[in-house]
Symmetry: D2
Subunit: 265 residues, 4 copies
Amino acid sequence: MTTKLKDIQNSADLRGIDIQKVGVKDVEIPLIIQRKNESNQTVYAKARMSVSLPKHYKGTHMSRFMEVLNEWREKNLLGVDIEGCLKDIMNRLDANSAELEFSFKYFLNKTAPISKNICTMSYDCSFEGEIDKNGKYTFILGAKVPVTTLCPCSKEISDFGAHNQRAIIKIKVSYDNDKMIWLEDLIALAEQCCSAQVYPLLKREDEKFVTEQAYQNPKFVEDVLRDVVTRLRNHPDVNWFKVECEAFESIHNHSAWAFQQEGVL
Amino acid sequence: MTTKLKDIQNSADLRGIDIQKVGVKDVEIPLIIQRKNESNQTVYAKARMSVSLPKHYKGTHMSRFMEVLNEWREKNLLGVDIEGCLKDIMNRLDANSAELEFSFKYFLNKTAPISKNICTMSYDCSFEGEIDKNGKYTFILGAKVPVTTLCPCSKEISDFGAHNQRAIIKIKVSYDNDKMIWLEDLIALAEQCCSAQVYPLLKREDEKFVTEQAYQNPKFVEDVLRDVVTRLRNHPDVNWFKVECEAFESIHNHSAWAFQQEGVL
Amino acid sequence: MTTKLKDIQNSADLRGIDIQKVGVKDVEIPLIIQRKNESNQTVYAKARMSVSLPKHYKGTHMSRFMEVLNEWREKNLLGVDIEGCLKDIMNRLDANSAELEFSFKYFLNKTAPISKNICTMSYDCSFEGEIDKNGKYTFILGAKVPVTTLCPCSKEISDFGAHNQRAIIKIKVSYDNDKMIWLEDLIALAEQCCSAQVYPLLKREDEKFVTEQAYQNPKFVEDVLRDVVTRLRNHPDVNWFKVECEAFESIHNHSAWAFQQEGVL
Amino acid sequence: MTTKLKDIQNSADLRGIDIQKVGVKDVEIPLIIQRKNESNQTVYAKARMSVSLPKHYKGTHMSRFMEVLNEWREKNLLGVDIEGCLKDIMNRLDANSAELEFSFKYFLNKTAPISKNICTMSYDCSFEGEIDKNGKYTFILGAKVPVTTLCPCSKEISDFGAHNQRAIIKIKVSYDNDKMIWLEDLIALAEQCCSAQVYPLLKREDEKFVTEQAYQNPKFVEDVLRDVVTRLRNHPDVNWFKVECEAFESIHNHSAWAFQQEGVL
């Protein structure tokens, strides 16, 4: 049987092309995530993981990605551990660069502003890591934060009311490897930059509060973006960021959208 | 070669199971749609088409669905023609029942309320047809109509402002085969049942108008649903309907939702 | 403040329409699920929950759905508990019917056929429950199971090889309230009805096994459907089922699809 | 009314942040696309369009994007015209850079290899354009091409058969503004780099052909990627490209994936 099961992937390739990234995508996997000031949370991630492949190899060994993912899912993950996971796959596949992305829903308790009722709310978050061929490790933390925006133009020109809508703030940040930014803090940063926050559970007194707060605090997507950019520029640990704000306009069937990317990865 | 290419599908099956529906799904296909008072519109549909399969056959002939779809895409489609398309596939596959569904974006010109600017806007629409084993033909017309809803509770309890958001009204109707309901009329019916309509292009004077209109016209999803249900109950040609209203709440990260189904198919 | 915060939802409605379903949709929520022969698993569900609303009420109280969901997410859920959750929301909203749906990814360890390597694999699953206005409780268990299908026609007519592809078997079943069907068993039932099972982690000796197994075991979507239907008809506890098999054809850009629904809910 | 309808967007902003991109997203719009050697085709695009916004302006004027899109949808679009569209929005919004993206389904007739039956098939395509603040125009053409891949390892190690699956080749290319690459040619380039092509309509003799062709032509995602990269490196007009190949593995519930990006934009 061993003569039969030839390792085709290890056979020579003559096209002379070093492949930048090859691996697995859309792998569903549970992960244990470190939380700030709380016990860990198991999340369910969609994962992509890849390595570089030198020109003389025909193929990579896909099953080893699954072995590494299956082992690392038992560990508590944040920036430092992503690096360990990448080094592991590089060792097992004899690769000189690797990258991965985990996207997952992260749950936090959120307290209503007046009633103080607590309910759980989910945020789409991500961990991305890369070790390049010079051995440099980069980690990117991502969060998508739903908020309310209320249109300043609509408020100004209308005799009463103002259109408002759910919007989403998408932030990705990179920071020094000896620092740590928590998802909890990144989400809180975004939630300070809107007309009003979004909550899972609001009683009537809360609804009155957020309605009036949004009306007194109108913001375009441009305003939200600038508020987030200001905070990220002033953050001592952030080296690079990408921010998007998209408002699912209540008066249109399309979105208003703003985008900014700054810093060096 | 003819001896080689055995018709496996026609071979006998011994499990004794009449299959209710078998066919193709997620077929992308252009269709020509009749418009009310206008020239036809080519749309791009996602199609499903199936037939019943008697227990003594192992399989249906999938390529014939594609032949029928490829021929019928050249014809002008509405209820009557869906029936022809179904009869065609029943004949070619010697089946005693068949059903299909076409889902597509349909574009209409929409005029802003004050500036009278005209711009195109898309609606997710569908045609569904079935011929059952007794030969009875049923046609279902579907449209999803984006609108604005403004919350009556939020308006009532707040000193100023009121949360509002994009919502979607989903309507499916069935009517007598000798009658005709146009997509244009079904969409207009839905657009009469909201706090304010949604437009592709609004200038400042239009934005003032829709903002104030929504504020003066607050509606829960329950209100929108009841308004649509009232109109459909009173429609002389509608035999059956299903209505959903879903509001993408601006103060939450989830939707408010209402549902009603009445009549006989 | 109490005079201010009027309960608009409780105000009278004059349209005379009893609403069948009104509630919340696309709520993201963690749930604790009972597993067969194992400790519980926390999953992340997308939830819909609704009640009926009598014609004399203008609106339901949406925040109470979130309160109920937030409380019940701490309990171990399966059929019996869904009923409790429905009764709870009916009590709090004074409704005479209610329904809910939880959709979630469920993770099981899967063992490779030869190497016996174990890796985790996810399945899209669902719990649906309804208490109708006569007090009758119905529970529906759902699972979507990825498998391989290899085309019998392609194998028969070709001198070598046969096209094969990933397919998905979608099963929903309802059973007597004093019985219990585990997701583990429903998934295993589906995995017995394909050309070969799908695995998260396969070493070379496993890949040889599944390749040859699929080739020796060709199945149309019709075959898969009939195999599943046979097992469900013979299952002593199943009162009703709905089965779909969809094959993402490797030689086409569309799917082959088969569907069957039997029994009484 | 003119005193009332103040132009809030034109008011001053004090945060000192030049916004890189602000505009509209998820606009559904019909477009007229030039085809190679054929009459034009109307497609339905999902559009994003944005401009830069200097720090001293509070907001952009979103309605002007819709005006420009609504006018340009009547024109025949390819690279040259995207530039005109971008210049138009820059003029109307007094912006010094702009970018847009149109994503749409593009339909081509595809001829079965033996029966020569012709049927329509759709491809997800895109036009992206940007004029940067130095006035440099860049155009990127994109196509996603479904194909079949048959696993070389599975074929080698198995006594019969080989797993195969639908895969998708995603290509984006940029080329000199005085050159022209047609979608038809980009799609054809991709379809030369697979185990077998995917067709909308195959009769039995065609199915035999593609089954045997795939078996005799096994390819990993790495092979497909290298074949595409070789062709793009040798293409006289391509300045920059990005290629992905993703195979929806028939033996797994995840994808194999390869990626390459080369050249200068």
